[in-house]
Symmetry: C2
Subunit: 362 residues, 2 copies
C-alpha cells in the first residue's frame, strides 16, 4: 500500500432530499440506508481501507457530527476527523483538508470522495481508484471519475470527454467541458451522443497540483488557508479555522476549479455507482417485489399498489391500497407521502415544515 | 320525566371499518372521534339523560369493555352495565336487556339505540324519541326510526313506509317492508321513489310488545332468556347468562323480528343522523379545508392533495403530496393509506393484518 496515498471523505451534507429518514441531527451518511447493518459512511471508510493506509484516511464534516463520526468509525484518531465550523461547500472543505495533509506529507496523492454514495462493484472501484491515484502521482493532472449514464438524469452534472485523447490506452481521457445539472432535453442529447459522463464527485490529484489550481482559480480561498501553515495539526488549528470559515466564500470545487482548469481528465468507469441522492435513486438500486414496490419494513401489506418505495418502522403494521409511484416514509415524528416524480420538492417540504413546526421535525 | 321510560344503549361493536383508530381493545364508541372532548358513548349517554331518568339507562356491551364503560360513564351503577359473555348480534342482546329491565319494571317502555352514532340536532332527536316513546306506550306497535336518505348509500338497510297510513298526522307511518343493504342501482331507485328511509337501528317498544314479538318470531331465543326470570339482577345472573349465550343463536333484531312483524311503524325523522360507520361517513360530516381535505392533526401540510381524510397524532409532522380521495390514518403501531371509495375493504385488511402480524395490531 502506497504510504503517499491519502483519502478525504466529505461527510458534511445534510441529505435533505432523504428527509424524513435523513435528519439534520443524523443525516443520510450516518444511516444504514440499505438496511444491511452498516451506515453509508462506514461502508465508504471500509472501501478506502483497501486503497490507502487507514491512518491516511480523513473525514471532513461539520463539527455537529463529530461524535457520530467517532462512534461509527472508532478506528479514527481525532486528527483524522476534520471539523468544519460552518458549511462552505466543497472548495473550502478540500482546501482545508489539503493543507492539513500537506503538514503531514507534502508528497501526498489524494482521493476526495463523498461519504454517502453507493458502490455496488467494490473490486472495480478499488482498481479504478488505485489506477487513478497512480496516474495523478505520475501526471500533472486533476482527475475526476465519470460514470457512463444509464438514463438522462437531470440531478447530476455531466462531463464531456475527448475520446481521441486517452492516456496509454486506459479509460482516462481529457475533459472537453463540465456542465451543471441540465434540463431534460439537454440531458437526453448528452446521453444519446455517447460523449458525456455523469460527474460522480470523486476527485484525485497530487497536493502540489491541486494547490496550483487553487492558486490560479480560487486564490482568495487558497490564501486564507495558506495563512494557516504551521498551525494545522496543532492546538491553534481550531481557532484559526473558525476565523477562516467566517470570511471564506461558499463555492463548490466543480464551479470554482474543475470547470476552469485546463489539465482536467476523467476516468470513465462503471462500478455500480449511485449518489443515492433521492428516494428515487434508492428505489432504482433496491430489490422490488412482484408489484415493483421497494418495501423497507417488516409488517407492510400492499393492495393494488405498485412502483412505491416504502420505508417504515419494523414494528409498525402498514396497509397501502391504491398507491402508484409514491414515496411513503414514516420516521419517528414525521410522515411523508409524496409522488416519486415529485421528490425534488422534498427540500421545499423540509423548509416549510421547519418554518411552521420547528427544528425538531427536520 | 316518565319513570317508565328506559334506554338500552348497545355498545358491543368493534368498529372494524374505523381501524386503525378503532381497535379491538378500544373500539369506536369509546373514542373521541369528533375530537371535541367526549367519546361517542359519552355523547349518547348524555343525550338520553334528557329523555329518561339516569338510573333507567342501561349499557349493554361485551364484558371486555366493562372497565372502559365504568371509566367513561362513572354515574352508572354496576347493575346498569349489562355484560355479554359473547357476541351474538342484536336480538339476543335486546332479549337479555329486556328481561333484566322487566325484573325491575314490567311496565317499562324502552328505546334501544347504538352507542356510536352521531346526532347533530340534539333537540329534534329528543323530541322524536319522546314522541316515539309516548306512541309505543299507547299503541301496540314496534317503532323504528327512519332517516330521509340524502344519497343512495349502500351501507344502510332501507325501510319502505306507507305514506297513506300515518298516525294522527304525525311522521309515524306503517312499514311496508324492511330491506337489507341494497346494490347501488336498487338504492338509487329507493331514493328516487321517495318511499324509502334509512334504517337507523334505533327502536322503541313496550316490554310487553317486544316480548310478544320474540315469542312469535324468535321463540328459541325468547325461551332461553325467559328461563332466567328470577335470576336477573341477582348473583346468579352472570353464570346463567354465560350458559345461555353459549347456546344462543347469532341473529340481528332486524332479520329476526322487524322484517317479519306486522305491527312495525317507522318514525320518519331528520335530526342530523350519521351512523358514522366508515371513514367516509366521518369525512361527510366533518369540516373541510379549502382543498376539501378533512384534517385531524395539528401539524399536517398538504400539497396538491384534495378530498382526503387525514387522522394522525397531534405531535406528528405530516406532509402529503399528490393525494386525491385517500384515507390516511396513523395510529400508534399502524399506518393505513387507502382510497376512500375502498373503505368497505378495511374489514378485510384488519383480518389480513391479524392473521399475518397478530392481535396487537387490531
Amino acid at each position: 500500500m502506497n504510504k503517499d496515498f491519502y483519502c478525504v471523505i466529505m461527510a458534511g451534507g445534510i441529505g435533505a432530499r432523504f428527509w424524513p429518514m435523513s435528519r439534520s441531527h443524523s443525516p443520510k451518511q450516518f444511516i444504514d440506508i440499505l438496511d444491511d447493518g452498516t451506515s453509508l459512511i462506514q461502508k465508504t471508510f471500509a472501501r478506502f481501507t483497501e486503497i490507502c493506509p487507514k491512518e491516511n484516511i480523513y473525514i471532513i464534516t461539520n463539527q455537529m457530527y463529530a461524535e457520530q463520526v467517532k462512534q461509527q468509525l472508532p478506528d479514527l484518531t481525532d486528527e483524522q476527523i476534520v471539523l468544519e465550523p460552518a458549511r462552505r461547500n466543497t472548495a473550502p472543505c478540500i482546501a482545508y483538508a489539503n493543507y492539513k495533509i500537506k503538514a503531514k506529507n507534502p508528497n501526498a496523492v489524494v482521493v476526495v470522495a463523498p461519504s454517502d454514495h453507493v458502490i455496488l462493484k467494490e473490486d472495480v472501484f478499488k482498481e479504478v481508484i488505485l489506477n487513478g491515484l497512480n496516474f495523478v502521482k505520475d501526471n500533472r493532472k486533476l482527475l475526476t471519475i465519470g460514470i457512463r449514464p444509464s438514463c438522462p438524469n437531470t440531478g447530476y452534472g455531466y462531463i464531456q470527454y475527448d475520446e481521441d485523447r486517452s492516456y496509454g490506452g486506459s479509460s482516462i481521457y481529457d475533459v472537453k467541458i463540465f456542465t451543471e445539472k441540465p434540463e431534460l432535453e439537454v440531458a437526453k442529447q448528452f446521453v444519446e451522443s455517447g460523449e458525456f459522463l455523469w460527474n460522480a464527485g470523486i476527485f484525485m490529484w497530487s497536493l502540489s497540483e491541486i494547490e496550483s489550481a487553487f492558486e490560479e482559480f480560487l486564490p482568495e480561498v487558497n490564501d486564507l488557508f495558506k495563512q494557516g501553515e504551521g498551525l494545522y495539526n496543532t492546538s491553534a488549528e481550531s481557532s484559526f479555522v473558525k476565523a477562516t470559515y467566517l470570511v471564506c466564500k461558499n463555492i463548490s470545487i466543480d464551479y470554482g476549479i474543475m470547470e476552469h482548469a485546463k489539465n482536467v481528465c476523467v476516468y470513465a468507469a462503471d462500478f455500480g455507482w449511485s449518489d443515492l441522492g433521492t428516494w428515487g435513486a434508492l428505489y432504482d438500486i433496491s430489490e422490488k417485489d412482484d408489484d415493483k414496490n421497494v418495501v423497507m419494513g417488516n409488517k407492510v401489506k400492499t393492495y393494488n399498489s405498485n412502483g412505491c418505495i416504502i420505508n417504515v418502522p419494523k414494528n409498525k403494521a402498514v396497509v397501502l391500497q391504491g398507491m402508484e409511484d409514491y414515496i411513503v416514509v414514516d420516521n419517528d415524528n414525521v410522515l411523508l407521502i409524496c409522488k416519486k416524480d415529485n421528490e425534488q420538492q422534498i427540500r421545499q417540504y423540509v423548509n416549510d415544515v421547519q418554518i411552521d413546526f420547528g427544528d425538531k421535525y427536520i
